[in-house]
Each structure stands twice: as C-alpha cells, then as structure tokens.
Symmetry: C2
Subunit: 477 residues, 2 copies
C-alpha cells in the first residue's frame, strides 16, 4: 500500500491526489445523505492520459476505484463502501470543451463538465442541450452518461443515452476506448458505447463524450390542466400527442396531494386553476426558430377539443414566461414539499407507457390498504411511463425510525407490484448501492447472468465500483 | 455425433431438422455467391422454446451454430465455414406476429418475419415500418437486427437499432433473454439489448423483437438535382436540412458515371434532367397525415433558394408517384448496372457526415492514380456519411481473375484511407466473414480487446457463428 501511495502521488502530484480529510470527506457521503463510505484518498486526474496511467497503476496494485462526477446521484452509485480500500476517482478537474461544431450540432466535452455549463455553452451559439434535471448545477457529463440520466425532457429527446454520439472511457487495465469521432453509421461489431452508457462505472470510467445538440427553443407554451381521474391523464396524453406531435416536450402529472403539499410549502406558490381537481397535468410545447409562432394555435386547438371531448375539467395557458416558470416550479417543488410533510419511501419506477395510469389507479390503494395509515403519491413523467411513487408515513411517524422499521417492506411491496406489471424498479435513477439487492432479488435470471459474465470479463478482479449495479452471484456478495 | 443427430431429430422432428442435401444446400451459399460452406444439417425450430432446447443441446454436444434469416446478408455472416461441423439454424419458420398495438405504434414479431410482410402488416393499420432495403422480399427481422441493417431511410429514422424497443434472444447455454415489454425508461443495468443488436449472432440468437412503427406517409415529394462538384452536394444537403428539417427522409448522391451506367443498363430509364451534370442528388420529402399538403411549398422554397444561392445547376420535382418511383429506380439500379460493366471491388464505408463529400473528392483520384486504369465511383447515403465506394476494373479485365489478383490490395488501400479519415470499413453491411481480417488489421486494439472479452464471456467455446465479426486473438485465427 505504501508503494501505491508513493506511485500515485508521483503520478498525479499534489493537486491530483490527496488524503486530506477536509478535502476528501465531503465526497464520501451521497447528496441525499443515505450512504457514507471511506476511501484510500481522492484522485483528481487532469487528463485522459492520467486516468489511463492511474487505472493501470490500480490494476498493478489491485486497488478498487469508485468514479465520481458531481456526487448528485440518487442511488449511492458514487459513494465508496466502508472498507476504506477503494480510491475515490473524481473526474471534476477534467472539464474542458475539446471541440464544438455548431454546424454539425456536436460538442465534445470532458467528463467533468457540469450540465449547467453545457447548457450555457450551447446557448451561446443558438443551440441547446435538451436534457435537464434538478441537479444541473453539480451533475457532470460523465455522471449523466454513467447513470443514463433522465429528467423531464425525455419524452421528446430521450434519456442521456440518446444524446451520446461518441464516447471515450478508460477500462480496468488502463486501455482507452475511444469512439469520439461520431459516425452516423458504423457496423464494426458490438456497440461498446451503448454497453458503457448506464453501466455506473462498473465496466470503465467515462472520460469524455461527443454529444448531440438541438436548435434553441424560440417559443414555448405551458398548459396546466385539471382532471378528475388518473386514467383521464392517459387519455389527455394521447390527445395531446395526436394534436401536438413533436412539439410536445413534456407531459407531467401531479395528484391533488402533491399540489397541496407544494402550495403549503413553497412561498408564493399558487394554483393555476380556481377549483380543486384530483389530478393535474403540465404540458410543455416548444418550437425552434423554424416553427416559432405556431404554438398558440396548436395549444388553443388542443385545449378546445379536449374540453369538447370532456377530457379535462379545467385548463389554462401560462400567459407569459414568468407564469410558465411558476407552473414548472409547482412540479419541481414536489419532492422537497413532500419531504417536508414527513418520512416517506420513494420509488423511481416505470411500467409500459400505456399502462402507467392504470398502474397508479390500482397500486396506490393496494399500498395504502396493505400499510395502514400510509399515503401513496405518484407524480412525474407520465408520458415516459415513469413516475416517482412515494409512500408517505402515517401522521406522527418519526423520521429515521419509520423508514428503518417499515421502509424495506414497503419498497419490496412496491417493487413486487412493478415487476408484476412488467416494469422497472429503476426508471431513471439507476441501481447504485441503493437497489442492488432488489435487482438481485427481482431481476430476470438470464439478464443477471449476462450482466455478471460481462462484468467479470471486463473487470475480472471486481475493482471498478464494486458493490454497485451488478448483483454478483450470491456466494460473491 | 450420432447421439447429437438422434437428439436433435427427436427434439425438432422431421420438419425441424434435415440433412437432405436438396433442402440444405441452397442455404450454404450467400446470396452474392462469394462464400459457400458446409453444415451438419439445417435446424428450423418453430418456437423460442425449441430454440432454447436446441441451444442447450448444442451446448452439451459442443456443436457450433450459424444462425440464418433470409440469407440476404452482404458479408457472408450467415454462411457456415467449410468444416461441416456447424449446425445451420434457420429462424424462417418463426414468423408469427405476437402482438400489434396500433395505438402505441408497436409490433412484436418473431425473428423470421420478412421485411416486406412487416411493411404490409403495418400499412394495413395506417402505419409504416420505416426501414427498407433492396432485399426486403427475403430479409428477416432477426437478420436485420443481428446486422443492424441500414438502407435509404436511415437519415431520418436511424438504422435498425433505432427501431428496436424490445428483444428476445437465446444465449449460448439455452437461457432466454427477454426484454420484449418495452419500457421507455429502464436503468436496471447494462443495456443488453443494445449489445445483441448488430452482434451478428456471435453472442446469442435473436428470436423475437418489439419494433417501433411510424405514421403512414400521406404525401411524398422527390427532388432530383444536378450539381457540378461533389462538395456542392454537401452544401445542398445542409441547405435542404435547414429548409426541410424532419420532412427530409433521404438524401442520396450519384456521380455521372453511375447515372450513365443505369441509363445504359436499365430498360426505359431516362435522365430527369436534360443536360449532363457531374453529380446528382435525390432528395425525398415526406409528410404524414398531420402535415400532408405542406410539401410542395416546402420543396419550391427549398429549390428556389438553392438556385438563388447557386447550389444547383438544375433541378426538378417528380410530377407524380410514377415519376418519383422512376427517380428512385435510377438510384436503386446503380449496383446491378455497375456490375454489368465489369468486375469491381465494392466497399461499404462511412466517415463523419460532414467530411464525406471531401473524402470522395480526395479518395477517388487517389485510388485511380494508385491503381492505373481503375474508375472510382461513390454513391449513396451522403446524408448519413455513408457511400458505396466501388473501384471498377480497367476495361477488358477478366471477372474473377482481376478481383483475385488486385482486389485485396485495392480494398486494403480504400480501408486504410477510410481509417485515416476516422471512418468505418463497414457502415451498414456488417463484418461477417468478408471483413473480419480487415477489422482485425485496422480495428482499434482497445475496442477489439473489449469485443473479444465480451464474446468469450458469453460464448466461452466460440460456438456461436464462429469466424464471424469478432477477430479473435491472432493465435486463435
């Protein structure tokens, strides 16, 4: 170990490697505060070459590596275990834009580029990077790729996977996989880029990527609708999809409970509609320069026919950008608002898009009846078949105690239901360490077998982000 | 071996297994006639369960398997080697449509469904499957997925990979991987579906897939333009993309040589334009029901501004569907017309989209100067950065003899050039056995290392389509 520490210090220098507790500790707890680990130290290489040399060094010394971007993951995927044997590998220093081709709408940037910065850089040239999420001020390109991050614009643009045209990653032995030059068509074998995306650092460390950009938004319109039944949200979605087509960029749903929680919690928040409704939909329509000016007609026609067909109880259009932002704030504040109410078990789940409304209608009462006093709340990306399914503790439950005593049973119940419906126990937040046991319990044995074989083929010593994502064979756990 | 033959006959019955030469031989030569192999026999299972049992049987007896769909591949990927040790596994009997959800625009069909039938079935419900290619009368869904097939509609809709929402495949040990229920968002680990797509049957045998469908085309318009220089085709492409956006479904280029070859070869063919031009572009615009009626204005504006900007020498619009088909025939007949001229080496190559026109401008004279008397011809999918790059033999060369004496050198020269330009030696036709040595010679060592590791992890005995796609370590070749 002394040899390793000497070698790594020589390789990366003082700025590139530290064991200083003050510098390392802040990165040893995930941002939700669910997991805290220990590490040999914090490595912060400045180039792909340094990452490659570091990985080769770790290979020689058999040192495990936990890659980390902005440390804003939801499943503890970037937090080391408590053994203290692993090296924390931060990619944050690698934040260069290597090239930006505005004509081709492509940008090649290093793993440490922060999402908000990517948005700003694209905007400067009249373009946009369409993926966005709450943690954009800290989430990095490398982390977004490694977790195949989602967000509220997936409906139209797809998850992070769909934005990645090329990838650079360093493998367990230090070799560098490079497909940064994007070819629209390339049939030279397995699509290794796809294998690395979403692999949570268990197969290799993403160091750079070429990303697709979109034309900037020239116009947007946000609709808020009130509905009587969750199944009507599906009908409204189909209606909106038929009317708006690719102009529809987001379709989010909120139950009465969530809206009330936000109105109670967020200062100055007010409901877009006068009366109460059981369910609410937020629909965002956007147009780039080539279609600017078309949205008002489209929205008017969409809403008039929705009223005629009895699909909505009430609806309104945001009158201006400020109001549009206010509508989105009601959606974005749900998580903190629900958290303020009391303890809750949260689940990031998906089922086939067409079945999500039915799932909510059936699963919520099933959970509430099985766990007396709880409240089931499902909100989010209905158009993607993905909602955040929170089970709120009975009134008066103690934070910490309730989760410890009830949480596991409740989550297993929810995950069992989702699995019965053909769904996923992780739609967009990944598996990390939070759900690895549940994936082992519920995952398809053939898929798990393939995952294990691929993992061990590319990381035979299980040194890359050990304990994350891949439920290894029971004997190895 | 006797045991194996008894077991397989018992498992599959007479219809499912044969060694009858008359029944087997037609499938032992690839359709281009480049490769002929031998086989233990022809297995034609009727269900996924039978494929699974068959694969487990082959695992026990260590029998190699060569999966085959319509036998219309371009690279010999479905033709066994000459050892006679491998079993030919036809998926053609598995041609059921398992489900068809027109609302969700999803169809789940078995691997043996023929592309033309898929087109017809989709059309019956006002939908379309957007991928199409010359071999559509025989190419099967399983083969299209295993080779990640392309075609002329990739520009807008992507390769086969982009059409696959879910997949079922049988692995080397007989276990069944199943992700047929499509989830729009699912982050439960490595995307194994993506790994199987384009793996040419070397990791598993595709038995079924859930595919995405698109709205039927309600209107289409085909433009033919004449240009003076290949670099102008790139400018016209950018112009057309800016004007037509997602309405542009294909952008194909033809040099003077190819058009002349077709006019000489195809009965009744005539040039859309009066004068001669060095280069020609075929642009297809399409609209579904929601945008029907908008194309003429769009095309007129596109062409008027192209004339104004001096981007085209001449251009015309197909006046009706018959003429549109005639324009496409000029494009589709290039391969047979060029073949009729004499021997040629053909290359399916890509470079970054923005660089393809420059590549053609530079590579054609380089090839012609290096190999005296040859003619370089590049045509096809400029909008995808993918052309078919033919090098035609000097006049009077003998078919067979010339390819044998010159072919390898010419192909290596072309592949070297493509590699220098950051391109791919197989854009859409796959590697098969045709290019496996070239992939071994030119492939990135890190990528080849990962491919080998994954291949051996999932197929440790190298029994799945051996000798195809994956250049194993030199000692093993």
């Amino acid at each position: 170990m002394k040899d390793f520490l000497e070698d790594i210090t020589e390789l990366l220098g003082e700025r590139g490697f530290t064991q200083d507790k003050d510098l390392v500790d802040p990165w040893l707890t995930d941002w939700r505060g669910r997991f805290t680990g220990k590490a040999l130290g914090l490595a912060s290489p400045a180039s792909t070459q340094e990452v490659s040399q570091l990985m080769a060094l770790c290979d020689r010394h058999k040192v495990a590596i936990v890659p980390q971007g902005g440390n804003s993951g939801m499943s503890g995927g970037a937090t080391p275990d408590t053994s203290g044997n692993a090296l924390l590998l931060s990619l944050r220093r690698m934040d260069a834009i290597r090239s930006f081709d505005a004509d081709a709408r492509q940008i090649t940037c290093e793993a440490g580029v922060i999402l908000q910065n990517l948005h700003d850089i694209a905007a400067q040239k009249g373009l946009r990077f369409p993926l966005t999420l709450g943690g954009k001020g800290s989430a990095t390109v490398g982390g977004l790729i490694s977790t195949n991050a989602g967000g509220s614009q997936v409906l139209r643009h797809g998850s992070m996977r769909a934005q990645v045209l090329g990838l650079e990653a360093v493998m367990a032995d230090g070799s560098v996989f490079n497909s940064l030059i994007p070819l629209k068509k390339d049939n030279r074998g397995f699509d290794l880029k796809q294998l690395l995306i979403g692999s949570e650092g268990t197969l290799g460390v993403v160091t750079a990527a070429t990303l697709k950009l979109e034309p900037a938004i020239a116009e947007r319109l946000v609709i808020w609708a009130g509905l009587g039944d969750v199944r009507d949200t599906r009908k409204l979605f189909l209606h909106a999809e038929a009317k708006a087509g690719e102009a529809m960029e987001a379709f989010e749903i909120l139950p009465k409970h969530s809206l009330k929680a936000v109105l109670d919690h967020a200062p100055g928040a007010r409901s877009p509609l006068q009366a109460e409704h059981e369910w609410h939909c937020l629909i965002e329509l956007v147009a780039d320069e080539s279609r600017a000016g078309t949205l008002m007609d489209l929205a008017t026609e969409l809403l008039e026919s929705a009223f005629e067909d009895g699909l909505v109880e009430d609806a309104t259009l945001a009158a201006n950008e400020t109001q549009a932002e206010d509508f989105w704030t009601l959606r974005d504040e749900i998580s903190p608002a629900e958290r303020a109410i009391g303890p809750a078990m949260q689940h990031d789940i998906s089922v086939p898009v067409a079945r999500m409304a039915d799932f909510i209608a059936e699963a919520v009462p099933q959970v509430e009846s099985r766990f007396a006093g709880t409240t089931g709340v499902a909100f989010g990306h209905l158009g993607d078949g993905n909602v955040h399914f929170h089970v709120i503790a009975p009134k008066g439950s103690s934070r910490g105690e309730w989760e410890n005593s009830q949480g596991k049973k409740i989550s297993e119940f929810v995950h069992d239901l989702v699995t019965e419906w053909g769904g996923s126990i992780s739609a967009e937040h990944g598996i990390g360490q939070l759900k690895v046991a549940e994936l082992g319990r519920l995952g398809d044995p053939a898929s798990l077998g393939i995952m294990r074989a691929v993992k061990l083929a590319l990381d035979p010593d299980n040194r890359l982000n050990p304990g994350k994502l891949v439920p290894l064979a029971p004997t190895a756990q």
